[in-house]
Amino acid sequence: MDERQMLSQDEYMTRQTNIYNVEARENIWRRYIKEIPEDGYFLLPSCVLAVGYPGSEATIPRLFDLLDLDWNWNLKPESMCTCCSGIAYHGDVDTIESTLLTTARLWSVAQEAGYETIAVACVTSFGVHSECFDLYREETGLKQKIDKLLMEACGRKFELPRYIVHVSDVIYKHRLRLRDEFMTYQLIEKETGRPLRGVDHVGCHYNKLFPLERSLGGGEYCEVLSGMIKAWGGKEIDYPERRHCCGMGFRQCMLTPNRGFTAASVNKKMVSMDPFEPDFIVTNCPGCQVYLDKEQWAIKELKGKEYFIPVLTYMELAGLLMGWDPYDIVGIQFHTVPVEPLLDKIGIPYDESRSWLGKDGQTLPCLDELREATLAAGRTMRGIPLP
């Protein structure tokens, strides 16, 4: 073990006063406080998150209801939310006009339902809404053009929303209330009382597009996730590649030969954070969540190096600390990197056999088929004893 690793033990947290000024760190982000309304959110879910980590998406309404927040829970299905078109726009297969129209329609639906705050669950979508908002400010005549197109397309009118927030902003705003009134657990190692070390990974389209006005805490020392880590008992890790992109990139998703960039980016981050011995990674971007989680497996396959640092969304983290069932509600069985070691550290009980149960505790009809396919691939299934 080299000196760098030796110093990365708990001792690092004490010694860091010599190399890291915690007080200055706490002061620097306060230059960028954004206004987050207390209540009244028009929730726009994420396309990617619901598919990859359904428990995470399902946790949002539970948290909002627990906090007794007013949100668009009773919106009629026929006027429901659509995709923001962000993936198509950033992948260069759709025009900005289509995206402007799509967001204008969503804003119109929100305004019709009486909400002036758009709360977006996806970071790309947050970037898209923020960018569209900014375009109206910058381009004279654009509003009139989209007004006309929206009326022609679906007979709707719209105004610019008063607030655009990310759902992580909302959870950040209520983080202390969640801890004090509802949480059963804290980010503290049960056996030793050690605060768990958390890496925050903030999505690029949250804190790099409009760092001054849209990112809580600014672009460099974004506070939205690390604020939750610290409030819930953990310690944030500041490592050199902290601001490095996860490597998702819409082009990498679409062009197979470029996919190596993603694994390379995640590898870069892992190599950089590893000496600090993080206990978990927390994300607020569905894309980052997917790739930081899945690529750790790819890195193991490619390089033989097993980092396996659990990657959680802030909603999943909140859900777990709430004491909600890790499988039935939070859905940690959808993760590639096992989350159970983190649960062991915190002392959250779990029953692994529940990881493959369907709705209402029913056995999945396809379970046998899954088991056979897994066995044929020479792998094991977590929580399912092999025949």
């Binding site: 110093l7 990365s8 000024n21 020392y221 000496p275």
Partner: protein, 351 residues
């Protein structure tokens, strides 16, 4: 009509103005907000490009100004209020009722070093081993704590790998500082040479956008630095990070190679640029003169009257009108004294 001149600021430009006015037979009151004369230069161990002692330079000027019988020195106070018109100003000092009748006012209020913590990507104020050029100058000063040895703040070790990042807070549109601070390239090159002289095994790497060594002897100093083995990499540093042992990582671009590069350093010094004096807007309001877009005082005409403010009877010297090295500040002092003398003579003739 009054012939006395009030000079705001007792740095090198202010002192030289007072000395030159004295030589011309004009009395002045030199007002310095600090307890000592000398402004920023009194903290410089060595000046560039000739490695003279900043302290001795200030001492020499101070001796001259104290010997000048037409100069009244007022330290530890500021001009708080100015009334009246050119040739009939009344300048009040501090909170008291002491007023100085003045024919003209000279503003030589200098500059403020850029607060490097505002360029957040470099982690200054958070990472202990990221320091500023001003702090490095103190490390280089034999009269300071480390007795002139470079020791990094986290553990007191002599750094083997030092990075100097140029243009911190200068030529930066994001920060609203589009101007070049002019002196930092040379100042930091001077510091790089001093590090290399004291610790020959230490590798010093300078990251720059362009090297602007325009003055007499500056380019020669830059050449000497390169010949000593100091590495110059053309490219802006994107960000700094810290490792558990306190080493600082740097991500940058090498624009000659056209590639992003990375490195690990024991100590990083930020060559921070200069900003207008913090009280410049207040002084501008008090004297009813303009500040330019860059925050420095506006000149009556940048080509023909670079030392005249936008109001009759008010003159400007030194870094108050933009960054300049010490010899230029001295030249400014002489130029302003000549302008003031000409102005007062003209006004007297008119009356």
């Amino acid at each position: 009509m009054e012939r006395k001149v009030v000079i705001l600021g007792g740095g090198v430009a202010g002192m030289q103005t007072a000395i030159a006015l004295n030589d011309l037979g004009i009395s002045s009151v030199l007002v310095e907000k600090e307890q000592e004369l000398g402004g920023r230069v009194k903290n410089y161990d060595k000046t560039f490009p000739f490695f003279h002692s900043g302290k001795e330079l200030v001492k020499e000027l101070e001796d001259r100004v104290r010997r000048a019988h037409l100069v009244e020195i007022r330290c530890g106070t500021t001009v708080s209020h100015v009334e009246g018109q050119a040739t009939h100003f009344q300048a009040r000092l501090g909170t008291g009722s002491y007023e100085i009748p003045a024919g003209a006012v000279v503003v030589a209020t200098g500059f403020e070093p850029f607060d490097a913590s505002l360029q957040e990507e470099y982690g200054y104020s958070i990472y202990k081993n990221v320091i500023t050029a001003t702090e490095l100058e103190r490390l280089l000063d034999p009269e300071e704590l480390t007795q002139g040895e470079i020791r990094r703040p986290s553990d007191g070790k002599i750094p083997q790998r030092v990075a100097i990042v140029f243009c911190v807070g200068s030529r930066n549109e994001k920060l609203g500082h589009n101007y070049c601070s002019r002196i930092c390239c040379s100042f930091s090159t001077k510091q790089a040479i001093e590090i290399k002289e004291r610790h020959p095994d230490t590798v010093v790497t300078c990251f720059y956008i362009d090297i602007r060594t325009y003055g007499r002897g500056f380019e020669e100093m830059y050449r000497r630095a390169q010949e000593m083995g100091i590495i110059y990499i053309r490219g802006r540093v994107a960000e700094c990070g810290v490792l558990p042992n306190g080493d600082v990582t740097i991500k940058a671009e090498d624009t000659f190679l056209g590639k992003p590069i990375q490195g690990v350093f024991d100590l990083v010094s930020l060559s921070h640029g200069m900003t207008p004096a913090l009280d410049a807007p207040k002084i501008a309001t008090m004297l009813d003169i303009d500040v330019a877009e860059d925050g420095f005082f506006e000149c009556r005409d940048k080509d023909l009257y670079p030392n005249d403010a936008t109001r009759e009877g008010v003159f400007l010297a030194g870094a108050a009108i933009g960054m300049k090295p010490i010899p230029d500040c001295i030249a400014d002092g002489n130029a302003v004294a000549a302008r003031v003398a000409a102005f007062l003579a003209e006004m007297q003739e008119r009356n």
